[in-house]
């Protein structure tokens, strides 16, 4: 196995009654990277994260983290800080006590950094958890995740209930701490457009399967709109992976997700077809809508 592989899932499958939440899901994640986990509601993101962190058990398949079987492994679980979307904190505990408990369980927890984050995010440590608003509940999870300095830190929808300014602060803090203290992050989010610049790699999951795992830069280089006369567009996209098509008046617009070089683009433009980049949020929608395969 590649020594740089931090997390590996091998054919993970998980079913809930009639629904298969994960289907033969296999992925390898490397150390010291920020991964974005993207998918529609019900795609299987949370099931994947819960399985990887031993919150639930898969029906089949394995999870290996740091080269070991991670399931119910007390050596491995303390190295993972997973802040789920659901609230599992004890309502009567104060924020300060929750941070102290986190410091007790996460060996690398930086209480000084946690205090700084509480000040920057405006989180009152004297408050009891049950009195926090939804936004501050998210902020508490962010503070714990960032301050844990756990080698694998996972956020499931970390910016729920946060306004744009606080979300921006979170992304800046994450990048700054990642630069100074590299570790592996997995961030599951619906807010793709604003968070895409934070991620190095994205994993797109659809109906329990991994459809794409690529660097963000690669993703952007592969996703283009081609627009023009229908016949010319059809000719241009021939042989390419078309993930969306629509007519706007007499103009046909096709969204293409394929590897092609500058020479190909030049040739396509020469035939009167306009090429423009697809915003990453739109790309996500097309990929998770499309019946075609994604690419890795």
């Amino acid at each position: 196995m590649n020594d740089n592989v931090l997390l590996e899932t091998i054919s993970l499958t998980k079913r809930y009654k009639d629904v298969t939440a994960l289907k033969d899901f296999s992925v390898k994640l490397k150390s010291n990277k920020i991964y974005g986990l993207l998918g529609r509601n019900g795609a299987g993101k949370t099931t994947l994260l819960d399985t990887v962190t031993s919150r639930i058990f898969p029906d089949s398949g394995n999870v290996r983290i740091f080269g070991q079987d991670a399931t119910e492994n007390q050596q491995i679980l303390p190295l993972i800080c997973y802040m789920p979307e659901k609230n599992y904190f004890i309502p009567t505990m104060r924020v300060s006590d929750i941070l102290k408990v986190s410091a007790m369980f996460y060996e690398n927890f930086d209480m000084g950094y946690a205090d700084q984050l509480c000040v920057r995010f405006g989180l009152d440590k004297r408050k009891k958890y049950k009195t926090l608003s939804r936004g501050y509940e998210s902020i508490l999870r962010i503070v714990i995740g960032l301050a844990s300095r756990a080698p694998l830190t996972i956020f499931d929808e970390p910016v729920l209930g946060l306004d744009a300014a606080v979300r921006d602060l979170f992304y800046r803090e994450l990048l700054e701490d990642y630069t100074n203290n590299p570790r592996t992050y997995i961030v599951s989010t619906h807010l793709i457009e604003e968070s895409a610049d934070v991620f190095e790699d994205v994993l797109i999951i659809k109906e329990g399967q991994l459809i794409t795992q690529l660097q963000v830069s690669e993703l952007k280089e592969m996703a283009f709109y081609m627009s023009g006369k229908p016949s010319e567009v059809d000719a241009a996209v021939s042989g390419l992976n078309v993930i969306h098509s629509e007519m706007v008046g007499s103009v046909k617009i096709s969204a293409v997700f394929s590897r092609f070089d500058d020479g190909m683009k030049k040739n396509i433009r020469a035939h009167g077809v306009d090429i423009s980049p697809i915003p990453i949020q739109k790309l996500f929608i097309y990929l998770t809508n499309s019946n075609r395969e994604g690419m890795q």
């Binding site: 031993s54 919150r55 058990f57 119910e72 599992y88 408990v101 007790m104 369980f105």
Partner: protein, 244 residues
């Protein structure tokens, strides 16, 4: 400090804090109710017993059940395995049982002190143990109560684990079952004449010369069975949403 110790430290802090407040509130209520009667009575003879162990039994039962879900979920998000959580919870329950037993035992002396200082009459302090175990040695009350509390907390932990796994279906069936059991007690005599109360009496070794010791052993064996069941249930338990 290993993980079990860390979990235990967290659980004991909350547990002992709750136990402290239970004892304080219980004492205030009991002595506030009893003291005026003693102070203003005409000195009629009688025994006085705060029976802390009865209140403590209810407290232990309710606390362990109500704490199970919150502790299980919270310790899990802090990177602990189910095995670690089970071991620390069991250890915390045993420690709490011993603490409650010691407090209940000490309260016997507080009862005597209150009675002799406040009451005008001579008193005899009779406990439930003396009613059911005529040859009981007072010193045996402490290990008996400790074993009984360990049984109660073991049963409560099993209840908590089953409630976590099956939710309202288990809770409903359990309490309906309890109600039916109480209704069935007077009707439970079989052809052989063995009733439910007789079976309980045998389990408790009532009226046996060494009844308290033998009953304590039964309590510990039953607690072991309950805890084994909890381990089997919780070792493959998925983390579910908290009760809000």
């Amino acid at each position: 400090m290993n993980r079990i110790s860390k979990c235990l430290r967290f659980q004991l802090k909350n547990m002992l804090k709750s136990t402290f407040w239970f004892v304080v509130i219980y004492s205030l209520v009991v002595f506030a109710l009893i003291s005026p009667v003693l102070l203003f009575s005409d000195g009629a003879a009688g025994s006085f017993n705060t029976s802390l162990y009865i209140g403590a039994a209810f407290f232990a039962f309710i606390y362990v059940i109500s704490d199970y879900r919150a502790s299980f979920n919270y310790l899990m998000i802090n990177g602990n395995t189910r095995r670690t959580i089970f071991l620390s919870t069991t250890a915390a329950n045993i420690i709490m049982s011993i603490v409650l037993a010691v407090l209940s035992f000490l309260y016997n002396f507080i009862d005597e002190f209150v009675l002799t200082k406040l009451s005008n009459s001579a008193h005899e302090n009779t406990s439930l143990f003396q009613l059911f175990y005529p040859n009981a040695v007072k010193a045996m009350e402490l290990p008996y109560m400790a074993a009984l509390f360990i049984l109660i907390t073991g049963f409560s932990m099993l209840y908590g684990a089953l409630a976590y796994k099956f939710g309202k279906y288990f809770i409903t069936i359990f309490w309906v079952g309890v109600g039916l059991m109480f209704a069935a007690i007077p009707l439970s005599s079989s052809a052989s004449g063995i009733s439910l109360l007789t079976l309980i009496g045998k389990f408790l070794w009532l009226n046996h010369p060494h009844g308290m010791l033998l009953a304590s052993v039964n309590f510990l064996i039953a607690a072991l069975v309950f805890n084994a069941a909890v381990y089997l249930i919780s070792s493959r338990q998925s983390q579910t949403a908290p009760v809000t």
